[in-house]
Structure formats: C-alpha cells, structure tokens
Amino acid sequence: MLRRTLLATAAAGLGLMTAGGAMAAGMDKVKACFVYVGPIGDGGWTYQHHQGALAVQEAYGDKVEIQYQESVPEGADAERVLTQMALGGCNIIFTTSFGYMDPTNAVAAKFPDVKFEHATGFKREHPNVSTYNARFYEGRAVQGTIAGMMTKSNKIGYIGSFPIPEVMNGINAYYLAAKKVNPNVELSVVWAFTWFDPAKEADSAKALIDQGVDVIAAHTDSTAPLAEAAKAGGAVIGFGQASDMEAYKPSPRVSSIIDNWAPYYVERVGALLDGTYEQSDVWAGIAGGEVLIGDITDAVPAEVKAAAEKVRDDIAAGTLHPFTGPIKKQDGSDWLAEGATAPDGDLLGMNFYVEGITGDIPK
C-alpha cells in the first residue's frame, strides 16, 4: 500500500525528496537489478554486463539478490520494466544501454529510495541517478595500431551502430592510431543502425569486405562480423567487441576489447551494503581495468603485437592519450593544437570525423 501511495503521489507531479541520506546506515541485503538491451547470450555487450552481475552475486553471496530482464526495447517499454523492478523491491537498478537514459531518469523521480545507475548516458536529473561508462576509445587505439600494420589493401573498416559520441570516439581513435603507423590507410565506415542484429551486422561486414577491406572493427554487439570475416579464409581479420569472442581465435579475431563491468558493479553494490554509496559519474578506461585488451594472438607478427601492447601500456601509464594534437576535423578546421590532448567534454559530445576519414556522418 505504501508503494502504491508513493507512486500515485509522484505521478501527480509532487516531488518526494525525503530519501536523502536514508541509505547512509547501510543495508543487510541488497536486491540488485539489471536491464539488458539484448539477450545475455549475445556474446558481446549484454553478455559482459551479465558477467558483471554474476560477479556481484559471487562477491556478496546471500547478501545480494540478482534480478535481470533481457531484450528490453529502449523507450516506453523500458519505463515499465524499470517501474516493475522498483515496485518489486529492487534497491539498485543498472540500466545498461544508452537509450534507457530518459526512462531511467523518469522512473528515478518516482522512486527516490531506489538507486539508478545508467550506463553510457549523461543525464543525472535526480540525486539517486548515477552514470558510468568506459573509455572504449582507448582500446580502439590499440586495435587501430594492429589494423594499420596488418592491412595489405590499406583499407580498414568500421561497423558503426549509431552516430553517438561514444561511437564517434571509437571510429576516430581507431583511424588516428592506424594512420600513425600507416599513413596510406583508408577507413570505410558502415552504419548498421542497431546494437544487436546479427543479420544486419553480417551484411555490414560483407559490404566492407566487398570494398576490399581486410581489417574490420565492429561497434555492434554480436559475433556476426567475425563470423563473416572467417568466411574469407584468413584474408580478413577483426576484433572481439565488448566481449573477448575467443571462439574466433586465433584468426579472424586477433585481439579484442573486453568491457569489464564487474569491478564497478561489485563496488557500487558493496557501497550500498556498507552505507557509503554516493551519486557519481565514472568514466574509467584501461588504467582503471574497465577496458581490457584481450589476448593478441599469434596470427599477427611479433612486432605488431609489441607495438599494440606498447600503445596499451602507454595509455594505462597515462603517457599516451589516443587524441593528442595536432588533429584537425574532417572539414579542415582545427581541433587540437600540437601536443594538446582532448578534453573529456569534447569526447562526450563528439559529432565529427577527424581529418582524413571520408564519407558523411548520417544526419
């Protein structure tokens, strides 16, 4: 009955701001809930989030209860799923896709006692909404290095999902790193307009291969691009995306970016248990262990492997930033001066290609 009143009041537009500090005392048991955009068996993005959820269970055993919902469409349906979870007693809800941003904030307004954690977004409209993301572009710099050195046709490809800043970061970092080791490299980008659709992803990979591309990076969630590359019989290589995708080792999968959400999830749920939880906005990368570079296989020569690992280690050490000037935008205008590194604000709002990439960003 209490929950009902609460919901009705909030829906009537009266803000309930009574929960401030209510969690400070810590909790005996936490119900942690996860909303996934794809199936947990996608072998990529959602799979990794689910691994994080399982790690939470592992870390706290009986003190946590895990609940999750797969394949939740981004939009009105997400709002219902979130509300059901909050009503069902979830204490903390992780919403693991960009498109859950507005629903997360809308539901958070109605349940001030429930903590909401939104992955990859920027809106924290209420004190109980935190955001978290990983610097995937750091991993792209490692992949770009491999791509630039490995391509024989000097044509490398990238399967984009949606032209949002996170993806633009990845494309530009990949290209810049490839260009650095191979000035003749050309990048083709195909937009799939989906996060998870194996058929579309395979078509995108095929389109790239037909253009003569022999190294493919994907920013979508399934293993379909690697499966397509495998058909080329060793002539085309690619990378595991979001998850290690080790089934395609040693080739076409020559390395991977692994999203490692487990440390963050364990930390946040732990903070809720011991009463130290606070609203936050986290953006960690290779150094923080959120972005892991999967094993670089023997399908690449030793010097390529060494170069890639050096990029990885330099980024981890903080001596290399994937976006270090001089860098111009595609239209020729200046972006970063000699020696300057990209401020986070520029990266979070990135909506342009860097100089040298051909083609238009879908508008």
């Binding site: 199936p39 609940q67 009503l87 069902g88």
Partner: protein, 358 residues
C-alpha cells in the same frame, strides 16, 4: 485418414470459438515448453495472465495494459477495414513512424510556445503523416496495379531510415549534447500527452482507440461504406455490379488505416515514448496485424484481442524478470498464439472428415 472438406458456408461457431481455442492451446503447449525448461508452468501462466490484472502490482500494471493495448487497437481497427475488403496494408509500422515524425515535427517547430491549439494541430499532423505514407502504396496500386503488400512493407524500412535521420538530424534535441533523439515532450506541456488520470495509464491514445472502435462498428454495420467493404471482401464481382468503385475503396481503406496508425504514433511519441528516437518503433504496426485477426476483424473483438496481446507483453515481462525465463521463451509463447490461431482457423472454412478406405 483425416481429410479436410470445405464448408459451404463459414462456420459461425468456429468463427468465435477459434480465438478461445487458440488461447487455450497456447496455454497448454506454452506450459509444456516452460515445464521442459524447468519452470513451473502454472506459475508462468498465472504470472502472464493473472498477475497483471489481479496480482500485487495490478494497480500499476492494469494501466500499463492500456498503454500497450491502445496503439495496438487503434492500428488494428484501421487494418481490419482494409483486410475485410481484401486490401492488405502490411506497412502500418511505417505509417506509425511517419505519423509520429510529422506530429512531433509540428510540436517541436513551435517549441516552447504554449498554446491550447498545439496538441490538436499535432494530432492532425500525425494523422496526415500516416495517411500520406499509406497513400503511396494506395495510389501505386490504383494507377499502376502494383502489389500493396510489397510496397507498404518496403516503405516501413524507408520510414525507419527517415526516423534515424530525424533523431540524429532534423529533429535532434539541440540541447542533447550531440546525442541522438528529439526533445522530450514530457518537458513541454502544450505538446505532451500525459496520463489523463494519474496512475491509470489512460492517455488520449486510449480514448481515441475506444472512440474509433465504436465508430468502426457503426461504419461496418450501419453505413453504406461498411456494406461495400464487406461485400468487396466476400464477393468482389458482386461488389462491382453493386456500383462499388474498387479504386475508391483502396484509397479509402489504405488512407483510413494509415491515418489511424499515424495517430497511434503521435499519441505514443508525445506520451509513453516521450521523444523521437532511433528505436522509437517497437513493432506495434506488425503486432496489430495479429491483433486484427485475433479479433476476427471485428471492432469489439479487436479491443479484446488488443488487451489480450498487451497481457502477453506485460505479463511476459513479469514472467521473464521474476521467474528468470529467457525473453526468447516469451516470444515463442506469443508466436504460438498466432500459430494456433491460424491453425484452428482452418476449421472456420473447412471441416474434418474421416476418409473412407484410406
């Protein structure tokens, strides 16, 4: 040996019994599937069909049923008119998208003006967007005799591309830090379509669905156009002798179903969805085809079918979260419903006979 024999007239009994039998069969075989997966089938069926209506959180979920059923009913009723006349608009999903884009564009163009006329104007624009998109296959059919099934279906993919362009380009929120998606209508009262009674889930889309259901019923049973629609479906030649103009009927049915789908899109984008985004459409236009047939192309039947379909969605989500069923199992369950519906529907037009002598 069993043999199918065509009935001289469609069976009235099976016409109405089919949906019921299909639901029962779905429950049975779905339950079997769940049992094989190691979940208690009775708990699943109860979670899907009972809990959203009478369970602990029914106060919230009943409203959500209306949110889900509203657009399904609105679109399905439009489609059913054409289906009755043998005009197959399969592209309601595209018309739904275009209605949402046109309606939203009108609202966003005058942002942040506050005026009572804005929302009604957006409703008109939404209906127009869906209507115009449906006119493409309609006119191609009447002028060049193209197949409206293919053209309307293909236009769904065109509409999705325009939707992507809208959310990353011409309707993008200028204050959205470069992220795709339009402004959220929940922050713009003049253009918003909020719940009419807090917590009820009822917004103008639900009201429109009910009004349209009644209007369609009156049209079909009392109006000359309704008679022409029914006649064209049952006896096209007779219809022509009765002075029915087939081209006019195509334009009318496609236009009506397009406009209703556009309306559904507009109510959705200004209400539950809140904004134009790349993933705005979630398949209402396609699911509505199932709803139309499940409801026997009858307005009252469609209202019931829409609620039933909404129940499988909302309850299915509950079953998936609370009982840890994979989302795919729920989709299989929904697929079964259509499968059994079509399967059992054979009995409306055919009867099973034992063949003599093997």
């Amino acid at each position: 040996m069993l043999r199918l024999e065509k009935r001289p007239n469609p069976s009235r009994f099976w016409l109405y019994a089919t949906p019921v039998v299909a639901v029962v069969l779905t429950m049975f075989f779905g339950g079997l599937l769940f049992a094989l997966m190691g979940t208690n089938p009775f708990a699943v069926i109860r979670t899907i069909f009972w809990d959203p209506l009478f369970g602990e959180f029914a106060f919230y979920l009943r409203g959500q049923l209306l949110v889900k059923a509203g657009p399904l009913i609105l679109i399905a009723i439009g489609l059913s008119l054409g289906f009755r006349a043998g005009i197959w608009n399969i592209g309601a999903e595209g018309q739904y998208i275009m209605g949402a884009i046109c309606g939203a564009a009108v609202g966003l163009a005058v942002y942040p003006t506050e005026n009572r006329l804005i929302f009604p104007l957006m409703i008109l624009a939404g209906a127009f967007g869906g209507w115009a998109w449906a006119m493409i296959p309609a006119i191609l059919k009447t002028r060049f005799n193209t197949n409206e099934i293919l053209v309307s279906l293909m236009l769904v993919y065109v509409a999705q591309t325009i939707l992507a362009k809208a959310s990353t380009g011409f309707l993008k929120n200028p204050e959205g830090m470069g992220f795709p998606g339009s402004r959220n209508f929940s922050g713009y009262p003049a253009a918003a379509n909020p719940e009419l009674i807090a917590g009820s889930g009822l917004h103008w889309g639900g009201v429109a669905a009910l009004i349209v259901a009644v209007a369609a019923w009156v049209l079909l049973s009392r109006h000359i156009i309704g008679f022409q629609i029914r006649l064209s479906g049952q006896a096209p030649r007779a219809a022509r002798f009765h002075g029915v103009n087939p081209s006019r009927l195509v334009v009318l049915c496609m236009g009506l179903s397009g406009a209703l789908a556009g309306l559904a899109g507009l109510f959705e984008v200004t209400g539950p969805a809140g904004q134009i985004s790349i993933d705005f459409n979630v398949g209402y236009g396609f699911t509505a085809i199932i709803v139309a047939f499940l409801g026997r192309l009858n307005p009252i039947g469609i209202v019931l079918a829409g609620v039933l379909m909404a129940l499988t969605y909302v309850g299915g989500e509950m079953a998936s979260t609370n009982l840890r069923l994979p989302a795919a199992a729920i989709q299989v369950f929904q697929g079964m419903l259509l499968f059994f519906l079509l399967g059992v529907d054979v009995l409306t037009n055919y009867r099973i006979r034992m063949a003599k002598g093997g």
